[in-house]
Structure formats: C-alpha cells, structure tokens
Symmetry: C2
Subunit: 238 residues, 2 copies
C-alpha cells in the first residue's frame, strides 16, 4: 500500500495550496486535505517541525516520512509521478519554467495588497497597496498575460495547452490565476482579458475537464476571500 | 562538439544572472557571458524573441536552439547535467526546494528597495522602501537565516553543505545571498549573522572552493552596485 498523500496548508483560504489541489484532483489521486479537517493549523505546524527536511512555509505535501515543500516543487514532483508533465527532460523543464513564471505573477498579485509586510493588515498599507496595484494592473498583469497568450499562440497545437498539446500542471495553475483575477479585479481584468482570448479559452477548457468540473462543483473547492492571495478590494479594482 | 552555453542577462549588474554564473564556474563549464560582451542588451533581446520557447525574463541559458529560463530552473538543469545536485529524485527535489526558498528571499530583498514598482526609480518609492526594509530586517531576514541555519544544523554531516554532505547549486546561491547582504546591509547584517554561524561558515567554504576563489578574483566577477538586487542605501541599513 503506497503511503497516503497529506496536503498541509493554512485553513480558510485557497491560497497557494489550491495549485496543488488542482493537480491532485486532475490526477485523480486520493489525498487528505489537512486544512479542511479538525485542528488544521496545529497539525500543519507539528508536521512542519517534525519533518527531517522541513519546508520553509506551507503548502507542503507529506507522503509517509517524506515532506515536499514549495508549490512549484510539489508540482514538479506530481507532474513526474502522475503524468501532469512531459516525460522528456526539455518538456519537463519548459513546463516548470512556465510554472515558475506563474509563481512570480502570483507573488506580485499577493504583494499588490501587501506591499510593505505580510505581518501587517491590509488596512495598515492601504495607500501603498493602491499605488502598487495601479502598476500591477497597468504594467505587470498585461505583460504576464501577453506572455502566456504568446506561448499559447506560438503554434496551432499549443493553442490547446501551454506545453506540446497535452494538459500539464501549468495549465491548471494558469486556470487558477484567471479565476483569481476574475474574483480580485472584476472590472480591470474584464478589460485586460479581452486582449488574451487564448488564455481565457484555456481557463475555460481546464474548468471543463471532468475531474476539475466535479471538483469545482464540490465542497472541496473553497471560494476566494479577502484573506488569501487573490483579494477583492473595490478601491484597488480600477 | 556539444553546443556552447550562452548566458544571457542584463549588463552592468550581478543580479539573478550571478546565481547561474556561480554554478557554471563551479562546474568548470565553458560559457559565453553575453552580458560582458558587446551589444549585450540587443543580443539578449534578439535571443529572447527568437526562442521557440521564449523566457519571460532574463537570465536565460541558450544551448544551440534550446533556451532555458527562470534562475531556479536553469540551476535544476545544470545541477542534473553537471553534478551540482544529487542524482536521486528525493535529493534532487530537496535541493530545488531550498533553491526556491532562496529565490523567495532574493525576491523580498529586491522588493525592499522597489516595493511599489520595478518601473519606478528608488527615489520615487523611498518612503515605502524605508518601511518595507524595516520589516525585511526585523522579520523576514531573521526568519530565512534561521531556517537555513537549522537545515545546516540538522545533523553533523549536513553542517558542511545544505544537502547530504556534498556541495550543490543551493550552497552556491546561499553564498551569493550572504555576499549580497554583506554589501547591502553592512550594519544590520553584521548584527543578524552573529546568530547564524553555520550559514556564515558555509559562505566562507564556498568562497574557498578553488574554482570559485579563482572566479571571485577574476574580472569575470562583477561587484555589487545600486542598480542590482542587493543595493546599499545607507538610510535603509539600520
């Protein structure tokens, strides 16, 4: 019997854990979502402290005695093990490169509402958040979206998925980014995404995958809220 | 004849390119450092545009027709190909996990002087930079440094290197972080690093590797300056 997968993440938000959940759901792997069970935070902290190779921060995946941290690294692991990435070395690294670029985008979205410190409330850095989000919407989001649009548009086969005609974990993550931006910036992103139809179509295609559709309709999927990475503050959505 | 390695990065700064340079130097691989040659920026932009799998941003490594981007991804590639990471899957992923944590730290250091936007001058976000750097020095750097200290201290063998008793690209990168913090925050980091002797000793050990020592003494090594990721602004170093 292979050891069970335990996903450890902060309770109450989709956050970075959601990128891992989407991969686990698409792969059809059984996993325990510790964040949705009792005493989630205490369980997480205990698992983090007991790990012989401790992760710096959640999310992390525990498999028996092994603990794997860093979202993109967990996806690298799941991609190899569950067919969510090409087997060839160039394809594997290209998928990971796209994932790391998505991670950069996600980090910038997080810092748009927390430009000074994660330890402060949004309310304590509101003026700075306003300034940073203006640059995010005017410069950074268009640049990232154009980039993924160009990757999808590079040839006809790739227009279906980011990498070589087959779904990878990077597609699942890009779907999550589109969903998050739809929630956080309904006005600004509605405007921006008119220029990136291939990205929008990719997100729709992911949402229509049978296992992903079942997941999204289930109580396992958590809604976005103003405690996570993608936050909707109307004053920032311009 | 294997295709030559071309490292593409912005000229004039060590920046993220330096993490790749250190790996190439330690591996003893011949490479062309495009940033140090003529028309570096034009050459970089042309290589970026012509790539069939274009990177979002530098640094990237070009090897014949292949282009590999994202610092940590380039190191994953070099680690496998040139013995700068364990061959086993768990060791390979643990090394990469540490590298991604270093990448997070580097991103936070960058944003301490650019908390609003990379497209603005430091002078246009000086007040916000002051605020963010206070949190960086009081909260984030100690947390990261404690983490790497604990990884090194986890057992006697590991105290030499981060991963399983042998040098990996993550050690080279942690050296670069220590060197960068020494430059950027001579006062604050002198205080902080008293609590992390294993991290300091690791950095010294890396600097003493024959190939790294030769590199650091050569004109190939670029000094830090106030255009890169690690910047020294006396008003922030408290």
């Amino acid at each position: 019997v292979p050891a069970r997968y335990e996903l450890h993440y902060w309770p109450g938000i989709p956050g970075r854990g959601e990128f891992v959940r989407l991969a686990l759901e698409e792969a059809g792997v059984h996993y325990v979502d510790v964040a949705r069970g009792p005493q989630a935070e205490a369980t997480l902290l205990r698992a983090q402290q007991q790990a012989s190779q401790p992760p710096f921060a959640p999310p992390f995946l525990r498999i028996g005695a092994r603990v794997i941290g860093q979202t993109a690294n967990i996806l690298l692991f799941l991609g190899e093990r569950h067919g969510l990435a090409p087997k060839s070395e160039p394809g594997r690294l290209w998928t990971h490169q796209l994932q790391l670029t998505i991670a950069d985008l996600v980090g910038e979205v997080h810092d748009s509402h927390h430009p000074i410190a994660g330890s402060l409330y949004y309310e304590d850095q509101k003026r700075e958040a306003k300034r940073r989000t203006e640059h995010l919407i005017a410069e950074r989001l268009p640049k990232y979206l154009r980039y993924f649009e160009s990757v999808l548009g590079a040839d006809r086969r790739r227009a279906r998925w980011l990498v070589g005609g087959r779904l990878t974990y990077a597609d699942l993550s890009l779907f999550q980014v589109v969903a998050g931006l739809d929630y956080a910036f309904p006005t600004a992103f509605a405007r921006l995404k008119r220029n990136t139809p291939l990205v929008v179509a990719l997100a729709d295609r992911v949402a229509g995958r049978p296992r992903i559709a079942a997941y999204l309709a289930s109580p396992r999927r958590q809604p976005f809220n103003v405690h996570g990475i993608f936050r909707h503050y109307p004053e920032l959505d311009v």
